[in-house]
Amino acid sequence: MVVNSLAFLWFFLFVMVVYYLCQTKKVAQNVFLLGCSYWFYSQVDIWMAGLLVVMTIVFWLLGKGIYHYMEQEDERKASLLTTIGVIIGIGALFYFKYLNFFADSVATFATFLGFHMSWTTLHLVVPIGLSFFTFKLMSYVLDIHHGKVLPDNGLNGFICFANYIAFFPTILSGPIDRPKPFLTQANVARLFNPDQLMTGFRRVLWGMFLKMCIADRLDIYISAIWNNYEHHSAISILFASLLYPLQLYADFGGYSEMAIGVALMLGFKVAENFKRPFFVLDIASYWSRWHMSLTSWLTDYVFLPLNIKYRDWGIYGTIFAIMLNMTFIGLWHGANWTFLLFGIYHGLWYIPLMVSGSFLKKRKIKVNAYGWPKQQYVWKMIGIYFIISFGLMLFHSATIGEFWHICERMTTHWQGGLFTDMSTMVNAAICLIALIYVDIQEEWFPKFQLPLPQKFNHWRWELTVSVEIVAILLFGVFDNNQFIYFQF
């Protein structure tokens, strides 16, 4: 059951009604929410819901243990329990996502060196959302250890924590929320708030527009080329590669918008995930706006500790920390050499920033008298977009071999024109114009609003919602419910 389906609509309407009927009873509201979250997750795989329960209980007990030893000022035992928590989290990720890849790679390498080694691939079903909820579980124990979160010992405390892990709007594909803001909100009753409901609903609709009208529409064109690249010209492959970042942005950004919107309708403000990621002048800024909840998680729990640990190495320590951090970001997406290279590729783009000393400096895009970005900055943004697009070619390729063949074809097969699918291209282009308009407006003209006649001005929300629904019905693709990031 995905967020943009009719089944979800019925499910969510039911949840909303009951949820707000028990708005005065905090515990009842949380118990109901937890039940709904588990029911939602068990629709994907009931056995994996069992794993989720076990992991939740284990980490809850670990959290209690860590806090207990922290109170007794037994840092050694608290650290030990934290380490156990991190090992369990990474172990679960490793077992389900990376074991086959790692063992296969070792066996291949051993064979290459002349040793005989074989590995029978295990048929493991990766629990959907694993990469998202294990990061939440680990951040819980780490934050307790760092004194950022105080575990609540009561039953409601456990239910709040279980809700944090299994919260149905975000469990499948994020955003990866932090424990403190979520638990603080879960600890008070969420009262019916029409304004929050309306804002949330608009975000859901915008997410649906991004997903169904842009991502799924572009997918028709891009897949037609990418899945048959050996029959397409370099110009078509190049064009599809340049469109892919937009597809991914609309797909994952769309999902994030829907998740944030649904959460908001339930009274929760969860972490933002995207902030107009292509309006940037360097790769560091790009990662501060793309999949922000993952980047900030890895920055806090991987990059900063590493950077502190290796600070004696000076700039080399920072480079080492960032390369490792970016490699983790790459590998987080899956067990594949393409993801590893994707991470390293992005890490390499940080080196010039660090060498030039502009790594942590905020580079602002200067605007002209009309408020638009100056020309030289536009060129730089386009340049960064090309760099991102090339990196995403690695991300998009199933194997290094495929990536290599595609690059080879892009340099040799310049004969043959651009593959055109006029209907798909025009539909997507119209919707992309809307996306670019909204992003430009939010980035550079945040106070601007489309002028409406005076008497319609207080109907702005209603008009926007109606037009958005009509646009989704007119431009949307209704038979593709698969989100790219569900596989991660």
Binding site: P194, E462, S466, V467, V470
Partner: protein, 303 residues
């Protein structure tokens, strides 16, 4: 709560107005379109007044020239077939829509295995092409219900045209020549390299078969002369693909004209555009041939 309800009511009202107004505009563009599908589907469902109607798949669309029949018999004729492997789900709904306006004298149905076999590439979803005509006839609505989208089409007029705005905007410059009365000629000659006969290893689809029977029964009840025909292929399978419609024709005592293995066409690359579609020259020869062969069948309908 009251405030929220007011917002919801205004939104529903506005949505209804915007949806219906946009739907009207799209309908206008649809009717003006000369793009193949929009013109063919639009005209066939809502505008035909011809004596003879040709039903079928893309093979019918490219193979049968209405003007040949008009010149030979002095009856008006329109080729209502469309491409995109339309099957009986579409044809049944189309028949309902036509009958809600008038009763043609003759229907020539160019039958395709997708009209009765359980193929993976042509199922209930083909009825979706009838979306702009939701509510026009009982049969049309029945088929839209089977396609699973009847209620969304009822709910939103815009949704009936989903994804087709570009085709509608540029439809005026579409490739259909309205003077050809629904026939779409193909120019070019078949490249025979590596061709193999198409096989149909699929079981009979009981629902499709039932609809095909009902199609025949409705035509007979309305006094429409109906015949089934099968067009030639460049290369044919040995399998008796058309046994089912032949038996059906016998059962209901309707004419069945089978040109699938016709030696005048089979193996003649110069008459084909691809292995399943005749080119302009092939279509002209084929149309004249069936026009002549159908003389006795058409005789009772002569003006």
């Amino acid at each position: 709560m009251k405030k929220l309800l007011i917002h919801i009511l205004i939104t529903v009202g506005l949505f209804f107005v915007i949806d219906r107004a946009t739907g009207l505009l799209l309908k206008h563009l649809y009717n003006q379109s000369n793009a193949t599908s929009e013109y063919k589907i639009g005209y066939a469902n809502a505008e035909t007044t011809e004596d003879i109607l040709l039903f079928g798949s893309s093979r019918c669309l490219h193979h049968i020239i209405p003007s040949v029949f008009e010149e030979a018999y002095g009856m008006t004729c329109f080729n209502a077939a469309d491409w995109g492997i339309k099957n009986i789900y579409y044809h049944y709904g189309l028949l309902g829509n036509i009958l809600s306006r008038y009763t043609p004298k003759v229907i020539i149905f160019e039958i395709h295995p997708c009209d009765y076999l359980d193929t993976p590439y042509s199922g209930r979803e083909r009825a979706g092409s009838l979306a702009p005509f939701c509510g026009m006839s009982k049969e049309c609505d029945e088929m839209l219900k089977k396609s699973g989208n009847y209620w969304p089409y009822k709910f939103s007029t815009v949704y009936r045209y989903t994804g087709s705005l570009p085709a509608l905007l540029f439809g005026r410059w579409g490739s259909m020549d309205r003077r050809l009365k629904g026939w779409k000629p193909l120019d070019g000659q078949l490249d025979t390299t590596g061709l193999k006969a198409e096989e149909f290893p699929f079981p009979v689809h009981q629902e499709k078969l039932l609809l095909l029977e009902q199609f025949i029964q409705i035509c007979q009840a309305k006094g429409i002369r109906l015949c089934l025909i099968v067009s030639p292929m460049y290369i044919c399978t040995e399998q008796d693909v058309f046994k089912v419609p032949r038996n059906l024709a016998n059962q209901y005592n309707i004419s069945f004209f089978d040109y699938f293995h016709d030696p005048q066409f089979v193996g003649h690359a110069e008459l084909f555009y691809d292995y399943g579609h005749l080119n302009r020259k092939g279509a002209t020869i084929f149309s004249k041939k069936i026009c002549n062969d159908l003389k006795d069948f058409l005789k009772p309908s002569f003006p």
